[in-house]
Amino acid sequence: MRGPKIVAAGVMAALALAACGGSPSENGSAEGGGKGEFTYWSMWRADEPQAKVIKAAIDRFQAETGTKVKVEWQGRDIKVKIGPAIAAGKAPDLWDNAADVVSTTVVTGQAADLSSVFDSQVPGEGKKVSELIDTKLVDTLPKDPSGSTKWLVPYELISTGWFYNAADKDLAEQPKTWDELIKLCDALKAKDKPCLASDGELMWENFLTLDLLLVRDNGAGTLAKIFEDKSGAGWDAPGVLESAKRMEQLVKGGYLIKGYDASKYPAQQTNWAQGKAAFLSNGSWVAAEVSTLVGPDWKMGALQIPPTKGGNTEVNVSLIGFSVPKKAENPEPAKRFISYFIKKDNLEKIATEAKNITPRADIPAPAELADVQKQLSSNPVRPVLDNLPREYNQKVLFPAFLEMWHGKISAQEFVAKAKEAHVQYWKTAG
């Protein structure tokens, strides 16, 4: 039963390789490329907008090239399945996910290098993939064992920010500095309106503000530096305490929505969407999440944490894209599909239909994310939380942070607690 299957797969792979090797490398375009087939595991469910966009592109790709694509709409739990599948030699030829999920297969050397995709021509556009996707985006990815970051071809961008209703007259003026932001919060407080909504149990979303404050006060890569110094000395830098104190200021200043420390997601997010608080710290997907909850006159705006002392205006970015496992049996047709999908008339549907930002600057983001796209293109970008392993966040950053966020400990105590957990982390991380 299994023998013939493997032989068949082997033959297919050989055919695919032959087809690919046979055609001149300049002719890497999909049209006229060799036939073949590949399997694709999607992080989307078949009825999600992204899935519909990708499905349509796959249909066209199959019709134009004769390549057969076997799709499984796995949904988000693909992250649970991909490891065992790779271990068992059942990996798909193509899969997609957020970069932090894909990166677990990268650091273990299980992801194929996609440089050839970046160097390939996007069919019908006369340009290479690398010319259409800003390299600064891919540069935010962690390096694979060979030092390259070209193991993911992004098709959707996620950013973060303080989101708000731009139609709200109280929020007409954008604060340019941290102090102005606090002033705005004070003004709102005077009107009995909380400045920031937050579901207190959420760690990642709430930490985002401190994440960016560390950058504003200390420059990009501060968290990574703290993380790498196993002694924990990084926590002692005065700038770190300074950022923590700004967080304390937010908490102690009474700017947070009442009951934020005693609610469960999505209670306070819903309150925010109903206009009961000005801002919400979150990822840019929040626009889609609350689209059915907000009123008809809601206009989504995004505010980046303003600079504290000039410069350091980095904006968070996180990528969702395609990856090819190293053990894939038919990597070549899968790679051809990736460059095919980057074609404008495919990719722009991610913006127009799936309502998300694409990595191509020439595709305008949907209206609700226009602010975010502008911020991404006009500022340097950085990876959220400096790509730290989530285990570190879970064990070191978040527990101490939540205590401070809930007003139980001071900024000094936060730094001390985090440092202690940091030392413990490295003791056992071996």
Partner: protein, 280 residues
């Protein structure tokens, strides 16, 4: 059955507590059902209100796009087959382990009991590697086998308890009548232990009906996912695309309905089986 006519205050309080818990359980069920008829915005505006209009669209969404319809079939298939097989394999073993108190028997009993404490997730990777090597990943056979294996410690342990309560005199009588051991087991013991068997079957049925971890890892094709996996998949869409809470609750109702129906019907059967089977 005689019911005590004395009504001490303590008893009244006890009754009140029982009915209070019963009422809370029923309220929960009703709330889940009512919420499944509402749309997301409405749910969050007033979580405990009645639906203004019945949103049957939630059910259509769940059944179709949510994939609950296709998943229902997989769930039925897996839960029925694995529960029957697990009880069928466990019953003879449990019977023998309950009857024979030799050193071998005791250590085997202990061995099964220890299996109860193993978190299922420990077995996940070894089982996946093993199943993949014999080509059983993404097949009903593979997942059924796993469910049977996972059920064994519990089922054997539970049934051992039930068989221990069956009077030995029954086999003695059967043996005197000249019935073989197998015959006595099938014709005499099993009917008496019917209540236990049905309980074991039901508990395992519920367990596999709601099992998520292995179903997620082992069933990869869209047409083979089970109901809880469909629910998890649906809920996980919340990340990046937001969640349609009304449809989610409709999905939960689809998962719950057969359970409630089954328990309403079989629940009294178990109890009847136990009381009648053993004779009063």
């Amino acid at each position: 059955m005689t019911i005590s006519k004395k009504r001490s205050p303590l008893r009244v309080a006890g009754l009140a507590i029982v009915w209070l818990i019963v009422a809370a359980d029923i309220a929960l069920l009703i709330w889940i059902f009512l919420t499944s008829l509402r749309d997301t915005k409405d749910i969050f505006a007033r979580p405990f209100a009645l639906p203004t209009s019945a949103e049957l669209g939630n059910y259509a969404n769940a059944w179709g796009e949510g994939g609950f319809g296709a998943a229902a079939l997989s769930s039925v298939l897996l839960a029925v087959v694995s529960s029957i097989a697990a009880v069928a394999i466990s019953a003879p073993a449990a019977y023998m382990l309950a009857r024979r108190r030799t050193r071998t028997s005791n250590s085997i009993t202990m061995l099964f009991a220890m299996g109860l404490g193993v978190p299922g997730q420990v077995l996940l990777v070894p089982l996946f590697v093993a199943m993949a090597s014999v080509g059983l990943v993404d097949t009903y056979t593979g997942l059924n086998l796993i469910y049977i294996g996972l059920a064994l410690p519990f089922t054997v342990y539970l049934l051992t308890g039930f068989f221990a309560g069956v009077p030995l005199v029954l086999e003695e009588a059967a043996a005197i009548d000249g019935a073989s051991g197998v015959r006595a087991f099938v014709r005499v013991i099993l009917p008496v232990a019917r209540g236990g068997l049905i309980t074991a079957f039901l508990l395992h049925f519920i367990g596999s009906w709601n099992e998520t971890l292995f179903a997620i890892a082992f069933m990869q094709s869209d047409d083979k996912v089970t109901l809880p996996v469909a629910l998890v998949n649906f809920v996980k869409m919340q990340q990046f695309n937001g969640l349609d809470w009304g449809t989610m609750f409709a999905g939960m109702c689809i998962i719950l309905a057969p359970m409630v129906a089954l328990f309403a019907w079989m629940g009294s059967r178990i109890i009847q089986g136990m009381t009648v089977g053993i004779g009063k």
